[in-house]
């Protein structure tokens, strides 16, 4: 065993060889799960893969198809949209009164 491999920086995968014996392979660990920027909740629909694998994937399979998809959770994005629309409409009313 190589000295670097003995540490726990790499994850171990047991693989059955064609000869029938089982060997351990050392692979790099997956990155941490994607979280909401606002509340820190784990995001759904965002795959947990290394960047080389993310490159090969389609854009639609990497995040939900909505504004701020893959950045905010659904609850936070919904709340933000309501705040945005109401603040805009309030500003419009104030302009009219002046």
């Amino acid at each position: 065993m190589v000295k670097e491999q003995r540490s726990r920086t790499l994850r171990r995968v047991k693989v059955k060889t064609p000869g029938g014996s089982v060997t351990t392979q050392y692979r790099k660990r997956k990155p941490s799960k994607a979280k909401c920027h606002n509340c820190g909740e784990l995001l759904k629909g965002v795959p947990r893969e290394r960047p080389y694998k993310m490159q090969t994937m389609a854009k639609t399979s990497k995040r939900p198809e909505r504004p701020y998809g893959g950045q905010l959770c659904s609850k936070c994005s919904r709340r933000m949209m309501i705040l945005k629309s109401r603040s805009l409409s309030e500003a419009k009313e104030n302009d009219g009164s002046r």
Binding site: P67, R78, M81, I82, S89
Partner: protein
């Protein structure tokens, strides 16, 4: 609050953050919506009503909605639905037919091989002369 002509913003989905108007009330939970969003059925819980109204009749056309939105100062981008392309299977069939229709090229007649006796090489000539 939810009635025909009410302006709303969509909160959920791919059209979220876009303005729309209620065109028709389908159900006690669903409405038909048009405007910046696509013209589609929509859950009322995915809509956030604004304090504005447009006077349109139930089931108004998309053209009328576009005109009303222009008055508010919102110009809608009209997109035409893409025409469905021909299926590859059909194309393949067409190609097959074309191939069948094409007259087969007649093979060019084989060139008549000229059978001539090979000329005697120098060595052979010398050998002949020696034997004599």
């Amino acid at each position: 609050m939810m009635e025909v002509g009410r302006l709303c913003t969509k909160i959920a989905g791919r059209d979220s953050g876009k303005k729309c108007v209620i065109v028709e009330i389908i159900d006690d939970s669903y409405v038909l919506v048009d405007g910046e969003t696509r013209r589609r059925k929509c859950n009322m819980s995915h809509l956030d009503p604004i304090n504005e109204k447009i006077d349109i009749q139930t089931g108004a056309d998309h053209k009328k909605v576009v005109d009303e939105f222009k008055k508010l100062g919102i110009e809608l981008i009209e997109t035409k639905p893409k025409k469905a392309g021909e299926r590859p299977r059909q194309q393949r069939l067409k190609n097959k037919q074309a191939l069948e229709e094409k007259p087969k090229k007649e093979k060019p007649a084989k060139k008549e091989e000229k059978k001539t006796a090979p000329e005697e090489t120098k060595l052979e000539k010398t050998l002949d002369s020696e034997s004599e």
